[in-house]
């Protein structure tokens, strides 16, 4: 076994699959990630694809990428730069070589590097390697298209189907390169194409051909081994943020012993939440695919009035359309979860790209004094926990809760140790019952200021609610000036008092020092990686990452006060920094911002934080 002698062990490696949006790069990347997860690597993925389903073929705009970061130890981000890039055509090379480490390996399908394709990709010469100064990369020019055709010539498939399999050739090569077993992928073909045996056989043949080709050519040696990560014992699965968010709602409904209702309208990048819940008839989930975003939330408000745990899922433009209805849920004090998967804005903006620019919209984007609870998840898998908690706070505090995730979390996946329902927190909705002397819709709990929820169908609890201002306690329509102020204050205070039920803000690193890096939501992986890296170099840097935005943790000011400098890092122009300036005015906040539709890179964060540290 000559091969084993040439295996090099790595702690971490980043691989990027890049091709035309019709080349199947998302599938290729997902299969590679799933196999890696199954053999015990920790990992994080980052799909990066164009908004167009079939963008102009062969152009840089049409490139679809999938990046995965594998590790023997904890992996927090999909990685800044790839160690290995697979480029299926010149456009993919053009778009992705700048995201590849100098000296890294680039596998190209040399058959696609025709004069025409080079031109389409925007190359001015016939020599992209020289033109893009890629001389110091390990370039492997593999005749992927040709060998795929050769491999399949006996299968009787049409030319188009044959070429569609070439991604599996590339995958086979990468499997060999990283010493991955092929069984999981072979089993996937059996299941996915079970009705068309020839397609199963063709994909298997091409995958194996790629694997064998890689073994045969010497250019690919040495191959790499990433040992399984040392992670806690348990049952694991791979999960992305959207599925996790959807499942968190089902878990909450089960815990609260309520039916789950989702009213929603398809919108990138949140649609998968709708689809995932639509598939869960087995658990009794009712999903209403509405005629528009407004009907999505309004059907949910109706379901909430009727006694269900109700939710709606959307992205920025949809959240804008739902604003008025969120206000209705605020004034009627009905439980409602709004999951907003943020994307680049304003308007249609960058639908498939990530951003954190809906924070102010979530906090303040409504008419009137209209406070809601705002929570943000920070990893793909903890979208489960925070959507569960969003439901818990909605039900226990009778309020809409906006859960902010983003395109990066929604589409990114990672191995997840699945929880047991027995370990999830209790959820106790404040349900009215007929033992009450007389049901008064706006009679409140002294401590939480929460009213009781009376489900239609119970005799004696008949009541009226609505969007007009209501008299405190009795809930009759009231135009009394003083009452409006009383109710406005109560609604504000009710949300504020949720601070008594959320965990205190924790500092990762030291509890005091030079620089406190502050972040919220989906930037966690990049921020913690940066902070750990800098701390390993002896820098006095810590991280405080927020999941609870409104209300903020009670000890926020105390945590901030222990550091000389505070740097708020976010994928927008500084919305959280502005919010903190308003809520905690005594501190000076530095900012690191990025608005490119892309996550931070650890490298850029490190450079910028170092500057602030040294200034």
């Amino acid at each position: 076994m000559a091969k084993e002698a040439k295996i090099i062990e790595l702690d971490k490696v980043v691989i990027r699959f890049s091709g035309d949006s019709g080349d199947g790069m998302q599938l290729t990347g997902t299969l590679f990630s799933d196999t890696s997860a199954l053999i015990g690597n920790d990992l994080a993925t980052f799909p990066d694809y164009p908004a167009e389903i079939r963008a102009p073929q062969g152009t840089v705009g049409g490139v679809s990428g999938f990046q995965v970061h594998l590790g023997h130890s904890k992996v927090n981000t999909p990685g800044d730069y790839a160690d290995v890039l697979v480029a299926m055509n010149p456009a993919a090379l053009k778009a992705s070589s700048k995201w590849t480490k100098r000296g890294g390996t680039i596998i190209v399908d040399i058959d696609s590097f025709t004069e025409k394709n080079l031109l389409k990709a925007g190359y001015k010469t016939q020599d992209p390697i020289t033109e893009d100064k890629l001389g110091d990369f390990n370039i492997i020019e593999a005749p992927i298209s040709l060998l795929t055709k050769e491999c399949l010539k006996e299968f009787g498939l049409d030319a188009k189907s044959v070429l569609r399999s070439k991604n599996m050739f590339a995958l086979g090569m990468v499997y060999w390169l990283f010493n991955r077993p092929m069984d999981h992928t072979l089993a996937f073909f059996e299941k996915k194409f079970k009705k068309i045996q020839v397609v199963v056989d063709a994909n298997k043949a091409v995958l194996k051909a790629g694997y064998n080709y890689a073994e045969t050519i010497e250019a690919l040696t040495p191959s790499y081994l990433i040992k399984p990560a040392e992670i806690a014992k348990g049952t694991y699965r791979s999960i992305n943020g959207n599925t996790a968010a959807a499942w968190g709602l089902i878990a909450a409904a089960e815990k609260a012993n309520l039916p789950l209702f989702l009213g929603s309208y398809p919108i990138t990048p949140a649609t998968e939440i709708l689809q995932e819940l639509a598939a869960r008839k087995d658990l009794g989930v009712k999903v209403f695919q509405a005629e528009d975003e407004i009907a999505g939330i309004c059907t949910s408000i109706g379901a909430s009035f009727a006694g269900s745990l109700a939710a709606t899922s959307t992205s920025g433009p949809g959240l804008a359309l739902k604003s008025e209805a969120i206000g209705l849920a605020v004034i009627t004090e009905l439980p409602l979860v709004v999951i907003n998967v943020q994307r680049g804005g304003p308007s249609t903006g960058l639908p498939t790209k990530t951003e954190q620019s809906d924070l102010m919209q979530a906090l303040y984007g409504r008419n009137g004094e209209s406070p809601v609870c705002v929570i943000a998840s920070s990893t793909p898998s903890n979208c489960f926990y925070y959507s569960f908690m969003a439901a818990k706070f909605a039900l226990e505090h009778m309020t809409p809760v906006i859960l902010l995730t983003d395109g990066f979390l929604a589409n990114g996946s990672e191995p997840w140790k699945v929880p047991s329902m027995a370990d999830m927190p209790e959820i106790k909705p404040r349900l009215a019952n007929i033992n009450n002397k007389e049901y008064q819709p706006y009679l409140r709990d002294d401590e939480t200021l929460v009213r009781e929820w009376a489900k239609p169908g119970i005799a004696g609890l008949e009541h009226r609610i609505g969007g007009l201002e209501k008299m405190n306690i009795t809930g009759t329509v009231s135009y009394v000036p003083e009452n409006h102020e009383v109710m406005s204050n109560i609604r504000e205070e009710k949300i504020k008092r949720i601070e008594n039920y959320i965990p205190l803000l924790e500092t990762e690193g030291d509890e005091s020092g030079e620089v406190l890096v502050v972040g919220w939501g989906g930037t966690y992986g990049h921020l913690i990686s940066t902070v750990e890296l800098m701390r390993a170099e002896g820098k006095s840097v810590s991280l405080a990452h927020f999941n609870y935005i409104n209300p903020l943790p009670k000890n926020t000011a105390e945590v901030f006060s222990k550091f000389k400098k505070i740097v708020v890092c976010e994928i927008n122009l500084g919305q959280f920094a502005s919010y903190l300036r308003m809520k905690h005015q005594s501190f000076h906040y530095h900012q690191i911002n990025k608005v490119q539709g892309l996550p931070f890179t650890v490298q850029e964060l490190k450079e910028k934080i170092e500057k602030i540290l040294e200034a």
Binding site: Y236, R237, F261, K286, A295, T299, G302, I465
Partner: protein, 338 residues
């Protein structure tokens, strides 16, 4: 819907809130008719959910001693759809107006009808925006001078029944605020019909569009201008019940019984249950000056409702699934042990 032996009266459905519509407003009559109808349905009070949008008529929920929800402009249909889908055992009523349902809520209106959600949609049509004080609505007749059309509207109005049939609607009825007996009867028929039951009530706004329907409703000529349809009965009207409707070729025609050899047997017999909406659509469109206006249940075609289908799909899947709870789901599919 649970049917019990209940001795309820209209009074049981009145809340303690003072009714604040203008004196003489047609809404008072509709409120009374709905409360009477509810008392007669034999459904317990707590099983009713009354949902409205915004507008004068949408204050309705506050006057109902049931579960009720006054929501936001145009969205009553979506909210009512959510209530019924979440809890199909409730008897859901949507209260809306020509602006609420056909302008700002037009999208929800056609889609709830298309889905055939089992609820009763009471559309108060006074051809004006009352609460905002007199602007034209989607049903205002072309040329009408209003606050927002000082030179007359240049818009072609909707006929609600056209939209209902155009949206594959299963039930459409028309009634009028001046006939509380008929309104009550139609409300009962709407409530007992399974599916989206749309009832258009020609309603008078005494302040901003007074007598808008007077040409149809005035006592002196109402018999000549109102045709009350009943399923299976010939279409007869007139002061002396001597006029009728026949189908000639592709068109309706008014005839006099006894004249030119026309007998009652020649008249069109109303078929509300016909799946084919051809004649029903002509009845919706029929009107002055050459025809009477049709009242009663114009279309009532039973078919499976959305809420039933949702429940059935869940039952079917649950009968065969191995995933019975969240822990099962968490451990389903591709997992691995560390």
């Amino acid at each position: 819907m649970e049917v019990q032996e209940l001795q309820l009266t209209a009074k049981d459905f009145k809340s303690d809130q003072e009714v604040r519509w203008c004196p003489g407003c047609g809404d008072h009559a509709v409120l009374n008719a709905v409360q009477k109808a509810m008392a007669e349905l034999g459904i317990a009070r707590e099983q009713f959910a009354v949902i409205s949008g915004i507008g004068c008529s949408s204050r309705f929920p506050y006057y109902m001693n049931t579960y009720a929800f006054h929501s936001i402009h145009g969205r009553a249909g979506a909210i009512a759809s959510g209530v019924k889908t979440a809890n199909p055992s409730l008897c859901v009523w949507q209260i809306t107006g020509d602006g609420d349902a056909l302008a700002i809520g037009g999208n929800h209106f056609i889609h709830e009808i298309r889905r055939n959600i089992d609820l009763n949609l009471i559309l108060f049509n006074n051809e004006i925006y009352g609460l905002t004080k007199g602007q034209y609505s989607p049903t205002t007749k072309e040329g009408k001078i209003t606050k927002s059309s000082p030179f007359g509207t240049v818009e072609s109005p909707f006929k609600p029944g056209q939209l209902v049939i155009g949206s594959s609607g299963k039930f459409f009825a028309r009634t009028l605020d001046t006939n509380i007996k008929h309104t009550t009867q139609i409300m009962i028929e709407a409530a007992t019909f399974r599916g989206t039951s749309v009832v258009e009530v020609l309603q008078n706004c005494v302040i901003y569009a007074d007598k808008i329907h007077a040409e149809i409703t005035d006592k002196q000529f109402k018999n000549e201008r109102q045709l009350f349809l009943e399923h299976g009965k010939p279409m007869i009207f007139g002061d002396n019940n001597d006029k009728g409707i026949i189908l000639r070729g592709m068109h309706l025609e008014v005839v006099e019984i006894g004249k030119d050899g026309v007998t009652e047997a020649d008249l069109l017999v109303h078929d509300a249950k016909s799946e084919n909406p051809f004649i029903q659509m002509m009845l919706v469109n029929m009107g002055l000056p050459n025809f009477p206006v049709a009242f009663g249940v114009i279309r009532a075609v039973e078919s499976a409702t959305y809420d039933q289908k949702v429940e059935r799909q869940i039952r079917d899947v649950q009968a065969t699934t191995k995933i019975k709870c969240m822990d099962d789901l968490l451990r389903s599919g591709s997992t691995w042990e560390v």
